[in-house]
Amino acid sequence: MNDLGFGLALLVVGMGGTLLSLWILSLLVLLLKRFFPYEEVKKADGPSH
């Protein structure tokens, strides 16, 4: 394999792999947020939305 092929392989697999794994991670975070939703802490003052 020449250097160009090596570099391109790394570029494609590396960039693709990074995007893909972070996308999966972002989905997992969405799931986490769904299972453990945020509960509004009661504030002393100020209107809540």
Binding site: M1, D3, L4, F6, G7, L8, A9, L10, L11, V13, G14, M15, G17, T18, L19, S21, L22, W23, I24, L25, S26, L27, L28, V29, L30, L32, K33, F36, P37, Y38, E39, E40, H49
Partner: protein
């Protein structure tokens, strides 16, 4: 008696007689790093020990980098073993608040896009004739993340450690100068003016605690060779978010990080011996490092534009520039530039999300790279 006097005197002259032009140049470079750190505040925590380390190691006959010398001992114990960058990571994890990212997890993708410079610069380095392991180490400057760059370089091309770390840390502190022109050039007037809604609290304590665990398990299964990196940063974050080990959190982000930063900086400076550092390669690495960070920014912005389009104008592409890891400089740049174009625009929290996403992205990119390289038969 006379002869003994003369011989003793000659001993005093040995240092001077062994001083080469290379040593002198390196003393000046060490001084320059100190100047940048002390006078201009460029990453002083690292540039001061690195600069002084570079001075120490270029004193002829002092032997600090010989076997048994103090800097060599630090280097062998902490850099060769990769322990120093990993310990720094525990501290970074303990300091990092991932909440802005968890509020809007899609922003993680910007953190992935911001790693493009790593891989594209690697190609450039190969084209310029660097070997494959060297090119990997040069590309990793694009991670915009000191410990990651040191971790990967110490594994693949330890002889380039000095140049790679100096490039990584100097350009990280130059992010506020490097990014704005690219941001201006690549976004339209309309995109610059996109106002993003304020970040509302939507993340529970449980999510914050579970995130470092889930992230570690998932990313480590995908790229096992990156487990030390991701594991340490997430361990630090778990110490912070669990809320029950305040002492360990404090030790990680203060005492341990401080001690290790000192030893790491000195060790990196110690790799800058004249005969190793004064090469044309070093200059090339400095140029390639700048290219890497610029390309990171370009791809982050382009991806930001894509997300702007996909969300029908809910995301300001300027925060894409914060997808590079340089934390928190890149996020601050996005806030400053955003408000320069539209006073009513407050991008900081969104940019912090992209920026912490960039931290995860840079570690993930390094992890994937290590695994792919193993697959290709390197490392």
């Amino acid at each position: 008696m006379n002869e003994a006097l003369w011989a003793g005197f000659e001993g005093l002259l040995l240092g001077v007689s062994h001083l080469t032009l290379g040593h002198l140049v390196m003393l000046v470079i060490g001084g320059l790093l100190l100047y940048l750190g002390i006078r201009h505040g460029f990453e002083p925590l690292l540039l001061v020990p690195i600069g002084f380390g570079a001075i120490l190691v270029n004193i002829p006959l002092a032997g600090l980098m010989e076997k048994g010398g103090i800097l060599r001992t630090f280097y062998d114990a902490g850099v060769l073993t990769e322990i120093f960058p990993l310990l720094i990571f525990v501290g970074i994890g303990a300091m990092t608040d991932f909440t802005p990212l968890l509020e809007n997890p899609k922003i993680l993708l910007l953190g992935a896009a911001g790693q493009f410079g790593i891989f594209s610069t690697l190609l450039l380095a190969l084209a310029l004739g660097f070997t494959r392991p060297e090119s990997v180490s040069i590309g990793i400057i694009g991670a915009c993340d000191g410990p990651t760059a040191i971790y990967v370089t110490s594994r693949f091309a330890p002889h380039l450690l000095g140049a790679v770390s100096v490039a990584a840390y100097s350009y990280m502190s130059l992010v506020p100068l490097i990014q704005p022109p690219i941001m201006k050039l690549l976004t339209t007037e309309r995109e610059k003016n996109v106002v993003m809604a304020p970040v509302r609290k939507s993340v529970s304590g449980r999510t914050k605690i579970l995130f470092p665990i889930v992230a570690t398990v998932l990313t480590s299964i995908i790229a096992p060779l990156g487990t030390p990196l991701m594991g340490m940063i997430m361990l630090g974050n778990l110490l912070k978010e669990s809320g029950v080990v305040a002492r360990l959190k404090q030790a990680s982000e203060q005492e341990i990080a401080n001690v290790v930063t000192l030893l790491l900086g000195l060790s990196i400076g110690a790799t800058m011996q004249a005969e190793r550092f004064l090469k044309i390669e070093t200059l090339l690495i400095m140029v390639l490092g700048l290219v890497a960070i610029a390309l990171d920014t370009v791809m982050g912005l382009l991806f930001g534009k894509l997300m702007c389009l996909a969300t029908r104008g809910k995301i300001n592409p300027l925060i894409g520039a914060a997808g590079i890891s340089a934390f928190p400089m890149a996020a601050r740049v996005a806030q400053t530039e955003g408000q320069r174009y539209n006073k009513k625009n407050y991008l900081l929290m969104h940019a912090m999300g992209a920026n912490t996403g960039g931290q995860i992205g840079s570690v993930m990119a390094a992890a994937i790279m290590l695994s792919v390289l193993r697959g290709l038969g390197i490392g």
